[in-house]
Symmetry: C2
Subunit: 341 residues, 2 copies
């Protein structure tokens, strides 16, 4: 393989974690068209192992990815099947989610008659999420009670290498190694009581779902600039389009700013996941990325929300397509189910 | 070794992670008197690996621990040195910290004239912490600014195996596999602004320090009952005793209750760490486990706090001794330092 690097155009990489070989799964390089993949045990057994030594390992993954595009290693190819994918990191060491689309925060506050502090435009809002149980793109999402107000939150997330404490915005972007899509499930009926206690979300932010595939930033070409993705994020509920806001347009804080914010008092370890928060546009014709926003708009328009939260059996799908209509990350397609107790 | 199990009294186990062999260190069994240890690569390379398969692995660790007490495996013995220890889990997948000593919460609220909701006595308060960077018992603890209000929080924590969603209090205790001491460093001056934003702690709760050794509950004998440790937790600042509250006396929610609370809407993966929050007693003669509580008492007594927060160069040590005065977990002894930027 060593000679291939010179012969092939080495660009971006798509990676997935296949559900085999233990709790952390097995790392695979995925073809750009999401039809084929290749396990890479000789390079890194798991995505976490790759991230732990990214500078050394990523060129070797890029070489395999380029070879895969040439079909230069047919013997080991597997058909790619998103239903066989765990979350890219089935368990991660850090998951922090921003709320970077401040127009969304402003809107939700307005609906409940609460003033939004001006500092929200300059000081990012983030919460620490649980990361020991990240869900795959086709996993069922069980809850005990529909009355918890089950909601999607369609988001973009980045995965970093080691980021030192005190990293500045100017250098933070260089720590972004991979990009994913996320459904940050939220339990709206549990949020007010939990936030009133003052310590933030816990029960109201259950396990999060991830796209089958993560990609390196260069895989996005010109759509990745200024530490934002400039493409629409498409979500559907039970097959009906729910929203397609443009993820770059109204992102008040880009990922470099979010990373600088979260490293003010701590470093991040390799494999830390940083989320954007619910993608939202001022242009309301583009729809929403969560039911809470849609319900807020309905309330402002007609005095009360009409759209219900999710029920057992509902399916939420999320994907992003490039300017040629090609699916970049594969599709999240999770069904909400009744937890068996 | 297989025959030893029958010959030796197999009781509890003490474990540590030595700072070698990569990011997750190397698992060692530690002698009860904390003088000797033994790497166990043939059983589990890391503590996370042991927890991933605890039912199968823990009996083998117990056997080695029993043999170690007999000095039955002299050849591989190493002197135990807490300064060589990383955190038992140098990076973990889940760290959730309770605030289980409600008398402490009530006191702090009283000082700032805020009513505490009655539900705080029945509904546990927890926050999700960052777990990708857990500090060893002798690691320096760097911060950029003394003005952040650097404080200790001396706590007890437990480490679980896999805990299903919806676990009830009655069975939650059986998931507690290991116990540790924790210093949950807090940046008091950053807390009000951060909590006012509504999403809980992030910058104000930096990396947490752990005791050099974790122990199985049976290692505590009768001091572990009702999912609480009934022993004093001793903290010192620059060698002067700061507090020795009894960790079982006023713990409103025991660890089984905390685990049931955190699994209401999610499962926990093996190796999840659940903290008690700042240990505190109604008996104020026992001192405190954080400066914020001491300052609150001073304020209530004389109108203003006298004791300053920590300065660069200050050392905080935390330990717990059994009824015979023997150090159970080893001693945390961390120095606060100025971060190099």
């Amino acid at each position: 393989m060593d000679g291939l690097r010179g012969q092939l155009e080495v660009t971006g990489v798509k990676l997935a974690t296949l559900r085999r070989g233990g709790r952390d799964g097995r790392l695979a390089v995925v073809s750009r068209d999401l039809t084929r993949c290749l396990l890479v045990p000789g390079i890194a057994p798991t995505l976490q192992a790759a991230l732990d030594d990214w500078d050394a390992i990523s060129p070797r993954l890029a070489e395999r990815a380029a070879a895969l595009e040439m079909s230069a290693s047919n013997a080991d190819l597997l058909p790619f099947d998103a239903s066989q994918c765990a979350a890219p990191l089935p368990r991660a060491f850090h998951w922090v989610d921003g709320s970077a689309y401040v127009n969304h925060v402003e809107l939700v506050r307005k609906a409940r008659g609460a003033e939004m502090p001006a500092s929200f435009w300059t000081d990012p809002l983030v919460y620490q999420g649980g990361s020991d149980d990240l869900l795959g793109a086709r996993d069922d999402v069980p809850f005990a009670d529909e009355a918890w107000g089950i909601d999607l939150e369609a988001e973009v997330a980045v995965i970093t290498d080691d980021v030192p404490m005190g990293t500045r915005v100017e250098t933070a972007g260089s720590h972004i190694k991979l990009i994913a899509l996320v459904n940050d499930w939220s339990l709206r009926a549990l949020i007010p009581g939990e936030l009133a206690k003052g310590f933030g979300f816990y029960q109201s932010k259950p396990a999060t779902s991830f796209s089958p595939v993560v990609v390196t930033p260069d895989e996005l070409g010109g759509a990745w600039r200024d530490s934002r993705i400039h493409l629409p994020l498409l979500s559907r509920i039970n097959g009906h389009e729910f929203g397609r806001p443009e993820a770059g347009a109204d992102m008040t804080f880009n990922f470099a700013q979010l990373i600088a914010h979260v490293t003010k008092t701590r470093r991040l370890g390799a494999g830390a996941i940083v989320g954007s928060g619910t993608v939202s546009n001022y242009d309301r014709s583009r729809g929403s990325s969560c039911l809470a926003e849609k319900r807020t708009l309905e309330q402002l328009e007609s005095g009360s929300p009409r759209t219900p939260f999710l029920k057992f059996g509902d399916r939420v799908s999320i994907e992003m397509r490039d300017e040629h209509g090609r699916n970049i990350f594969g599709t999240l397609d999770n069904q909400v189910t009744r937890a068996i107790s």
